[in-house]
């Protein structure tokens, strides 16, 4: 998810660069302006297509639905008033998502939910039935140990398994 999005974002940035460069040459003296405002209309929104693309509930709803129809994928207190470390928590979350995406390759059914409780990191994942349970336990033990040693706090994996991705609608 995140990987594909960033590549699309890169394309858009290059497009914006090219456009602004062409504008520069015609009118002369326009500064380079790579705007984030444009990306807000495209972020985390799957565009309507032919109707054969299955989407989960998470993917089907847009970011303005967070707090209304969607919950938060990353739950920590760093964004409250007077609390610090928001940027560090975000970076940790990004790393954990990529790590889990790679470790359980092809098995993740939906985005991870990362909760911080006390000094514990709880990673809740929906895993598909692609692997036999013994191999899943190997990966679970491996990820828990590695992430605990990386972040110096107890990391627990909370796994729920599905036979296949829960499709909410087709776009």
């Amino acid at each position: 998810m995140a990987a594909s999005l960033s590549s699309r974002g890169v394309v858009r940035l290059l497009g914006a660069l090219a456009k602004s460069a062409s504008l520069c040459s015609s009118s002369g003296g326009r500064a380079l302006h790579v705007t984030a405002a444009c990306c807000k209309n495209r972020a985390a929104r799957v565009r309507v297509g032919k109707g054969d693309r299955p989407l989960t509930y998470e993917e089907a709803h847009h970011p303005h639905d967070i707090g209304h129809r969607k919950g938060w994928l990353s739950q920590n207190t760093s964004n409250l008033k007077g609390e610090g470390g928001a940027a560090d928590r975000t970076m940790e979350d990004v790393f954990i998502r990529r790590f889990m995406f790679g470790t359980f390759y092809g098995c993740l059914g939906n985005e991870l939910v990362i909760k911080r409780r006390g000094n514990m990191l709880i990673v809740c994942a929906l895993i598909l039935h692609k692997l036999p349970p013994a191999k899943m336990y190997f990966l679970i033990g491996y990820s828990e140990y590695l992430l605990s040693h990386f972040y110096k706090c107890p990391v627990k994996l909370d796994i729920q398994t599905l036979t296949s991705k829960a499709v909410y609608k087709y776009l």
Binding site: H129, Y137, K152, C153
Partner: protein, 680 residues
């Protein structure tokens, strides 16, 4: 006692002003406690643990003056411990190390071991990665510092020839590297301190002169057969451990190079020799030590006593050697410890029941010295008294006394053989069919942390399996089911023998309506492909007639069992039909009026070359009559003729008599009837 007028004020205080109420409670703690306990039992309304502590203490000292301490300190985890004491074990959940998901829950003992070991394997893989790339894991976020989450140093840092480098190698358990460093140090001429040489000798003797292999712990895990074999040889000939102590040993070489040798060096060497099977060398080393006028220490004597049964065969010689060692021990004023007594008792247990009195006298001496016996002590005494072979003595007095003495004690693991106590005790209870004693053993398991001494999953499954068999044989079915719900599947998974015992218990107490639930258990415990179990289940179901609902549920089970036999997906592993099971399933289907399925079953008879019984066909005929299907009746008689059954003629007569048939059918039947006659 408190006057009635004081009570309402107490209530209103507690309800309204918590702080004032707490103050009141503190002042009138003694009165309040007795009062409230009368009224509300032992419910506590938001009392903090501190207050309850003080109130409880005050109650106990009711005859003396109340002394309220000025300050009470609590440990760091006191709140957590108090919270933990409110939660007891959840009997419906699997072990907490597994994920709480049905796909990832272990259903059998094999799966439990597999999942636990694969999780452990994942952890070791991550540990290997962390330790080989420590530079990624050194950044320390934790406040305060958590040492167990830092990477361990596994690679050597010091390369120069020095004593520090030698110490480092010893610390990292690198045996060959340590020996090389020591040799280099000696060649360079530097003296190595006594302490370091002691440690080096300990290292070499412990690891037997070779580097410890990484996967050695895992190798021991798959040795269940090894454990079974070990159990069998307990009372037989002492096991012949291969002597893996090499003759030209680094340990002995370094030992001889030492300028002065003291007790500790001898101790390391003797214990290493005992561990790796060089018993005669150990004894000769011991005599050499005595000749050098050194005193042994308790570890040497423990090791030598454990060697006794391996080198002497007859009971007298063993006991003589043990006595000799013990007298030397007392002469040299070496204090025995728990392991000494345990080793002596272990050797005696191999001598058989003739050593009973000696064993008991050792136990009394142990207590006289003041060493608290561990569970292993009691295990060996049990082994001495209850040898597996002899069925003569069924006198469980010794076990009764033991349980009386051990009641309510909580143990810690002090000896590796502690884990065999509960298995042996419950085995004795099972053999002597003593239910009360079994309950006492179970209550000892439930005291405090004693469940840890049940051993690993294999040992604890043995214990629970035996306990469950005892219950099935001796207890009422309701109690059996209650214990079943308590132990399965959180503590153990019954094997097919356990399920058979359960079915026997159901049969004894005439609760056969519970059999469909047993079938569900068989399915969830993955015992579905055991034909003996299935046959027993079906025959129990088909034996008697029951009420219609029960018959209906039996028929559903029968259909599912038939699917097990006939499933196309795992045709190679399907159990083979026997005529008993076929007949029983057909009977069950008939009784529940599932005639069409019953007919399909008859075809299976032919396909599997099994012959249906006469009663079955008679029942079929009656069913056909109630259904009034004469065609079916004729087919039935033809079927029985094809099997060349004796009852063909009888069936034909019955069919002719009871059904109104067409001419054609009459002709067929009369033919069959007459065909049957000459054979009679």
């Amino acid at each position: 006692m408190v006057s009635p007028s004081q009570k309402p004020s107490v209530y209103s205080n507690m309800a309204a002003l918590g702080k004032y109420g707490g103050h009141c409670i503190q002042k009138n703690s003694r009165f309040l406690l007795s009062n409230l306990e009368q009224l509300w039992g032992h419910r506590s309304f938001g009392w903090t643990p501190a207050l309850r502590q003080q109130a409880a203490e005050a109650n106990k000292e009711s005859t003396e003056t109340i002394v309220i301490p000025r300050k009470k300190t609590w440990s760091n985890v006191a709140v957590l411990e108090a919270l933990a004491s409110t939660v007891s074990k959840d009997p419906t959940a699997y072990h907490y190390q597994f994920q709480d998901d049905s796909y990832l829950s272990p259903r059998t003992t094999y799966e439990l071991k597999l999942f636990a070991l694969s999780q452990e394997a994942g952890r070791s893989a991550a540990k290997y990665f962390v330790n080989t790339n420590p530079k990624f894991f050194t950044k320390d976020f934790a406040e305060p510092h958590i040492p167990c989450l830092m990477p361990e140093t596994v690679s050597l840092l010091l390369e120069e020839v020095s004593e520090e480098a030698l110490k480092e190698r010893i610390h990292l358990r690198k045996v060959t590297a340590a020996i090389d460093m020591y040799d280099q140090l000696l060649q360079a001429g530097t003296a190595v301190s006594m302490e370091t040489s002691h440690e080096l000798l300990d290292l070499i003797c412990f690891f037997g002169d070779s580097d410890p292999v990484e996967g050695e712990e895992l190798q021991m895990e798959d040795s269940e057969e090894f454990r079974m074999v070990k159990k069998k040889t307990k009372f037989n000939q002492p096991s012949n451990l291969q002597c893996t102590w090499k003759d030209d040993n680094n340990a002995e070489r370094i030992f001889n190079l030492l300028p002065e040798r003291d007790t500790r060096c001898y101790s390391a060497l003797i214990r290493g020799m005992v561990k790796y099977g060089a018993y005669d060398k150990a004894l000769s080393m011991f005599t050499e030590m005595l000749n050098n006028r050194l005193t042994g220490d308790v570890h040497i004597f423990n090791a030598l006593i454990s060697v006794t049964p391996k080198i002497q065969n007859t009971r007298e010689k063993k006991w003589d050697l043990i006595l000799e060692l013990l007298t030397q021990m007392s002469q040299q004023k070496v204090q025995p410890n728990l392991l000494t007594f345990n080793t002596v008792l272990k050797c005696l247990s191999q001598c058989g029941p003739t050593a009973k009195t000696v064993a008991l006298s050792i136990l009394t001496e142990m207590k006289a010295i003041g060493i608290a016996p561990s569970l292993a002590t009691y295990t060996y005494i049990l082994w001495t008294f209850f040898k597996t072979a002899s069925c003569a003595e069924r006198n469980t007095d010794i076990l009764q006394e033991m349980m009386l003495e051990l009641e309510g004690t909580s143990f810690t693991c002090q000896d590796p053989d502690d884990i065999y106590f509960f298995g042996s005790a419950i085995k004795i209870c099972l053999q002597s069919k003593d239910l009360e004693l079994g309950y006492k053993v179970q209550s000892l398991v439930e005291v405090g942390e004693n469940w840890r001494l049940l051993g690993d999953s294999f040992e604890s499954s043995i214990y629970f399996g035996r306990f469950f068999s005892l219950l099935c044989q001796m207890e009422h079915i309701d109690v059996v089911l209650k214990w079943y719900a308590r132990h399965v599947p959180s503590l153990f998974y019954p094997n097919s023998q356990g399920l058979r015992d359960l079915m026997q218990a159901l049969d004894t107490d005439d609760r056969l309506d519970f059999l469909p639930a047993v079938w569900k258990e068989i399915q969830s415990l993955r015992h579905v492909h055991r034909p003996n179990l299935l046959e027993e289940l079906i025959s129990l179901m088909a034996r008697d007639k029951h009420s219609p609902e029960v018959q209906e549920s039996f028929a559903m089970c029968a259909l599912e069992i038939k699917n097990v036999y006939e499933s196309a997906s795992r045709a190679k592993y399907n159990p083979t039909w026997s005529s008993m099971s076929l007949s029983n399933i057909t009977t069950l289907l008939l009784r529940a009026n599932k005639t069409q399925q019953a007919w399909d079953m008859l075809k299976l008879f032919k396909a599997n070359n099994k012959v249906p019984s006469d009663d079955l066909l008679e029942d079929f005929l009656s069913v056909c009559r109630s259904d009034s299907s004469p065609q079916r009746a004729v087919e039935l008689v033809q079927l029985s003729a094809s099997f060349c059954l004796q009852s063909t003629q009888r069936l034909a007569t019955r069919a002719l008599a009871e059904f109104d048939l067409t001419e054609e059918q009459r002709a067929i039947l009369s033919e069959l009837e007459s065909a049957g006659e000459p054979a009679n």
